[in-house]
Symmetry: none
Subunit: 212 residues, 4 copies
DNA sequence: AATGAATGAGGCTTCATTCAT
DNA sequence: TATGAATGAAGCCTCATTCAT
């Protein structure tokens, strides 16, 4: 019985909770499992979170933060379009290797059966990147680098769709297997090769004509 | 009521079960809700299915069948590549309009926390289309219609990724909102326009140079 | 697993619940104890009652009904004032002997910490007898049988106070012991003698001058 | 804060505990609520009391002491019977106004489900006043002031019953409402009038014939 | 063979009690 | 010595599963 949970322990609760929620979903996750895995008592969770719902919320927040941070690590300033895309793809691969549970968590979020919550979460999570990607595409269109007939929003959408499926492939069992089925172990197992293929497909998709 | 369940009633159980599982997830779904909605007793469900797990399995099977059938309706024989892609996209939109629950169900499947089951399902669901798409792409490459440097498997993967995200957008609340955020209500609301944009992006992505 | 709880079993649940609530109070009572004592499962209680609160409500209702019925068995029509009072006292003794738990339950009710509920219950339980007793006293005053300076309401109040304390003495451990302390085992143990003393005190208290 | 609790703080714990127990009952009362209200930590309560039970016991003791003291303030030496009764009634009213929580606490005591404890408490609380009242009544009977046929113990019992119901009416929500129902707001709201009525009823009940 | 009420294990949550600081 | 965070047993309630009719 420590005087107070250390920061590490508090973080561990969230981490273990994220793993549990990510694996079993909101309903399937068990508070006692989380507590056991975090090495604390069940009761103490209620000192930090009102109830299961709020703990879940904290897990969502932490996951979103990580996702944002991972993306921002890809930088963007002063990069050419191909460089930018390659950076985003690579960064996603790195982040997925480090913390697949955050991405699994993200995938769980998308199964929410509460429309209100789903909308709100989509707004928080998707709006910023939607804007960022759209801006990049519009700029590239103005510069004549890519297909001008493509709707910027649609382009951003397709791009992000591919990114989402990439992190799913690197974090969720089903999608990992799916990646193997589609691409074969060899390509699927090589981050570098897959990243190259993906960057190529995306740039082609946007109608990018230049070298890269 | 000592009458055997009619075929219709049996089918209704699965349909209602799919709706329930699709909406609430495996854990969240209630057997009694399913029974009530199907107009049968809880007990009779256990005459046809060992337990909740098996009922869920049957729902998965039926959903897969529908998905397969929906895709096969897109035909393929004698179609050009652009025609084929357009047909697949359009058919997905139609199928999603008719039975979003099957696609929501599919999305639920991907959250399975049992690796064995996840792999097995991926095998069943993804292998056939993976092969079909890869074959089409290889053929198109041999005909010099599309980018020869693209790995056929990767191409099929990216293509199917976009298809999956499309039916998610048409069936799951979170993804619907996401579509709206990225594309705006106008484009998101027009199946035709979105389909055009998507076909264009895909063909570009594959490096298709011809007219369409 | 019977097809349905028999009426007896349903009644038994309430009876055992009354015993449990009467003994331990609302908070102290355990649903599982009630179920065990009634020989049913915990779950089935929730088929008949929304939650613990509602079960408690049903117990209150049943107790009130019994109290009412016990009082009404004392009759009243065509009885002289002393006869009426004696009948009420005796009937209380009989009822307490048969079902002390209802009276213990009643005592628990009075400890309710929810003012709203307390008021509501007092209204339901006390209003009818308050009116009845007051009417009897007024009538007796008009007939010149008892002290005219006594406020009818106050007279009814003091009378009922003594009645309440009587059933407390016959149903709650503390009050039983108290009765023994005040009156000694001999008087306390004789319903007849105690009843005579009490009738005498009440009639004197009301200022009744006649014979009885 | 490594300072020993002051006497005031210790007293405050008991006071706040009495309020909490009186309001919510033994089970419903929360140690942390008591600690918070007393401005001390939960832990320190366990330095002074073995457990909740013992704290409750201390609250009972203090309440009993207050009740005794309140009664003794009514004096008794050199008073005539009517004066004595009037003094007791009035003193009860005053005490209830000052500290209804002690009387509510007393009422809680009577719900104890431990027979042993109930008996013991009754012994402590009731024996002294039982004796005192009985002595007064016996003396009055010897002096021919009151009904000689009344059993002294029974007389004391009925008298104290009325006193208990009086303080319940002044301290417990249910009984307050009951008082209002029986006597109406006007009489119920006037301590003086109610006291007069009660003294009259008691003296009549005892068969007191003299003036007062 | 279908019914749906009964079962009871398991989950979330509370709170009396402990103990490191 | 006081603190108050941590503990974990116990309680309410749900729901997958069973089985008497």
């Amino acid at each position: 019985m420590l005087k107070k949970l250390t920061e590490d322990q508090q973080a561990l609760i969230i981490d273990k909770a994220i793993c549990e929620f990510a694996e079993k979903g909101y309903k399937g996750a068990g508070l006692s499992t989380i507590a056991r895995n975090a090495g604390v008592s069940v009761g103490v969770i209620y000192k930090y979170y009102e109830d299961k719902e709020e703990l879940f919320g904290a897990c969502i927040s932490k996951s979103i933060d990580y996702l944002d941070e991972a993306l921002s690590r890809a930088g963007g300033e002063g990069k050419s379009l191909p460089e930018m895309i390659r950076a985003l793809v690579n960064q996603t691969q790195v982040a997925c290797r480090e913390h697949p549970e955050y991405f699994r968590m993200y995938h769980q979020i998308t199964t929410s059966d509460d429309p209100q919550q789903a909308k709100q979460l989509a707004e928080i999570i998707e709006r910023p990147s939607a804007k960022a990607y759209k801006d990049v595409i519009r700029q590239a269109q103005r510069e004549g680098l890519i297909d001008g007939q493509l709707d910027a929003g649609a382009g951003a959408f397709f791009f992000d769709n591919l990114m989402m499926m990439l992190h799913n492939a690197y974090s969720c069992t089903y999608y990992t297997e799916r990646l193997n089925i589609y691409c074969g172990r060899k390509l699927a197992g090589s981050e570098k090769k897959l990243s190259e293929q993906m960057v190529r497909f995306i740039l082609n998709g946007l109608g990018y004509q230049g070298e890269y």
